[in-house]
């Protein structure tokens, strides 16, 4: 993923659709991926549809993404978690708290 200027809508849409893909593949055999990807998706959906998002929620997404990316049983969760971390660090302006 490039790190130049990007349309926030494109970034959040990308994040949402990537996570939807991971969520569809998540099988439930390992718990951080099964639960974690759902919780991350819920917050990223809010970012994408313009709902209020708190700084705590975004911080929690970071914790979840690290947990899933490092601890999931297979590549689905591991890649999913890392994608989220990548998005959060490269597009911090998109993933910001808002009321």
């Amino acid at each position: 993923m490039h790190s130049g200027d990007a349309d926030p809508k494109v970034v959040s849409e990308l994040a949402r659709s990537l996570l939807a893909l991971v969520r569809g593949e998540s099988c439930g055999e390992c718990l951080p991926c099964w639960h974690g990807i759902r919780q991350i998706s819920a917050v990223l959906d809010k970012v994408d549809n313009g709902s209020p998002v708190s700084a705590e929620e975004l911080a929690a997404v970071g914790e979840l993404a690290r947990t899933v990316g490092q601890g999931a049983k297979c590549g689905v969760g591991r890649i999913g978690g890392r994608l989220v971390l990548e998005l959060l660090s490269r597009y911090s302006s998109v993933f910001q708290a808002r009321v």
């Binding site: 055999e29 390992c30 718990l31 951080p32 099964w34 639960h35 919780q39 929690a60 690290r66 601890g71």
Partner: protein, 580 residues
């Protein structure tokens, strides 16, 4: 094989090849937290990811429960990243787990609760994501609350791998990962044998026994009812667990005292009818041997085993002894022989059983179990339910005096006591069969070959010129192995097979206090044989009350009344749910 060294949190340790990181850490005094892992049943699927650790040179965490230690490995079990992952994972599980701890059957005995406490978790930041599921109370014995299921899959492993029943499975249904009865039917419509091993291994309160304590309290409070109770052999060495006594402690006398204080009109011992079972089943075996009957004969005491063979091997049912289990024999006698002798209307007699077993609830509810003219056994309570009643009544269990059972069904031999451990029914039968056939006294009455936790055991005992060959199995997976051999004609030389549904026999039954794992099983087996040695009578045919019962009521083993009250028939159920 040679040992090798690795480093865990700065401590060097030598381990054997094949040692997991989890076990290696334990050797240096580090208890890595786990949740889904359960060594006793070989469950190391790495579902929960609570036991994650960092290994130098690896980009991702490793799960300590199923990662073998390697030479030169440098492991860190307590880094900020590891702590964060563990805490977040517990938080995620709790987000989708109803936190109803005070009203949960497993309150205080919950591994998830323990883990949250260990981590000092004080809040759950995430919302629930799962749909609400209906509670499955279709079974008379076992209730499932899928809402509390944390998807650890221990129950699936024990049901499929240990018991070979596969009544439940893990799958994705409508986008949701769930543990469900096969084909999504209610549990009662599957091959579930009600063994309750799933209940024992569930870390939370997602599977549990049907609680019938209220029915017993109500009967005790009813002045019209004559309420009697019986206690199974395996409960004699298990109920102390619920009161902090060392596992395997013989609490027989205290249990009798507690039951009497509840107000039971008579406290009987299922050991009495275990001795009676030996008389009937031993006689049946001799009859089969002498008259060319179907051999080998297979025991019928274990209701989980009976339902298993009815579903999975119905063609082999002619091998199963027609004897009812000791529980059902006592129920039938309580409402006939005892009621008559006591001068009470059998319609008013209410029979309660204290059993180590969830399948006994199903057995008591079988339609044919009414040979007394009434429901032979009215309520079956598991060891756990009795433990709860004693606590509710406020009895200081550990300090109760030891009291004796009531006549005329209160004496049990050591042979009856060992019914509770795998191999015990066989040993009891051998002690009696030898003496009845040969007329000689058996000098060595301890049959060590059939004792212990080996899955399938065998012995050959010379009895009056005949080498009696016997087999013993426990855990239905092992029963399945024997049944396949029997069908293939490989067991033609054998005379008698003991099958117990649960690993370890009834002392490891699905109704026993939690935790019941390998260690508890070993200790209860120890307590069982210690009590056998300490009892006045050690052979079933020496039980004076059993002799008297035959003299005064039954006449003789396999006699007319015995057939009426103590024997039963089976149902060829076949596989369910039916697949079209």
């Amino acid at each position: 094989m040679s040992t090798f060294a690795l480093t865990i949190d700065g401590q060097r340790i030598e381990v054997e090849p094949g040692t997991t990181i989890l076990d290696a850490a334990a050797q240096v005094g580090i208890k890595i937290p786990t949740l889904c892992y359960l060594k006793d049943i070989g469950h190391d699927v790495g579902a929960c990811r609570i036991c994650v650790v960092e290994v130098e040179g690896e980009k991702e965490f490793k799960t300590a429960c199923n990662t073998p230690a390697a030479a030169g490995m440098v492991v860190h079990t307590n880094t900020p990243a590891v702590r964060e992952a563990r805490r977040v994972t517990v938080e995620l599980i709790l987000a989708d787990h109803p936190v109803e701890c005070p009203t949960c059957v497993r309150n205080g005995l919950c591994e998830l609760q323990d883990l949250a406490a260990t981590f000092g978790l004080r809040e759950v930041r995430f919302p629930r994501t799962r749909p609400a599921y209906p509670i499955d109370d279709s079974s008379v014995a076992i209730i499932r609350d899928p809402n509390k299921c944390i998807l650890c899959r221990r129950c699936v492993t024990v049901c499929q791998q240990v018991q070979g029943v596969s009544a439940i499975e893990f799958k994705k249904v409508d986008g949701e990962a769930v543990v469900t009865p096969v084909l999504k039917v209610p549990l009662a419509e599957t091959n579930c044998v009600n063994c309750g091993q799933c209940v024992l291994v569930c870390p939370v309160g997602a599977i549990y026994e049907r609680d019938e304590t209220a029915r017993v309290w109500a009967a005790l409070a009813d002045p019209q009812k004559h309420v009697v109770v019986q206690t199974a052999p395996a409960t004699h060495v298990s109920i102390g667990d619920a009161f902090g006594l060392p596992t395997g402690t013989d609490i027989t006398g205290k249990m009798v005292a507690a039951l009497r204080r509840f107000g039971f009109d008579a406290v009987f011992d299922t050991n009495f009818t275990a001795d009676l079972t030996i008389m009937e089943e031993g006689s049946e075996l001799l009859e089969r041997i002498n008259n060319g009957g179907v051999l080998p004969q297979i025991t019928s005491c274990s209701p989980g085993w009976i339902k298993y063979i009815e579903h999975f091997h119905p063609d082999l049912l002619p091998h199963v002894s027609s004897c009812k289990s000791p529980q059902q024999m006592l129920g039938a006698l309580a409402k006939t022989f005892y009621a008559q002798r006591k001068g009470v209307d059998p319609a008013d007699v209410f029979v309660v059983s204290i059993m180590p077993c969830t399948a006994k609830k199903y057995e008591a509810a079988r339609p044919e179990m009414n040979d007394s003219g009434y429901r032979d056994v009215d309520v079956v309570l598991t060891s756990r339910e009795l433990g709860r009643m004693i606590k509710e009544a406020g009895l200081d269990f550990a300090n109760l005096p030891d009291e004796d059972y009531d006549e005329p069904m209160g004496i049990g031999s050591g042979a009856a006591q060992i019914f509770g451990a795998t191999g015990g029914v066989m040993e009891a039968a051998l002690r009696t069969a030898y003496e009845l056939v040969t007329g000689k006294t058996l000098d060595q009455i301890d049959f060590e070959d059939v004792r212990g936790l080996k899955g399938i055991k065998e012995a050959t005992v010379p009895v009056d010129g005949l080498d009696v060959k016997v087999l013993v199995s426990h855990g239905l997976g092992n029963a399945g192995i024997l049944m396949d051999k029997l069908r293939a004609g490989e067991l033609k030389d054998y005379h008698f097979i003991e099958v117990m549904c649960c690993p370890g026999g009834c002392i490891g039954g699905g109704g026993q206090p939690i935790p019941t794992g390998t260690l508890a099983r070993e200790r209860r087996i120890g307590g069982t044989y210690a009590r056998d040695k300490a009892l006045q009578y050690r052979k079933s045919h020496e039980n004076p009350q059993v002799k008297k019962l035959y003299e005064e009521y039954l006449e003789k083993p396999l006699g007319h009344r015995s057939h009426e009250l103590l024997h039963t028939t089976y149902v060829a159920r076949g596989w369910q749910p039916r697949v079209e």
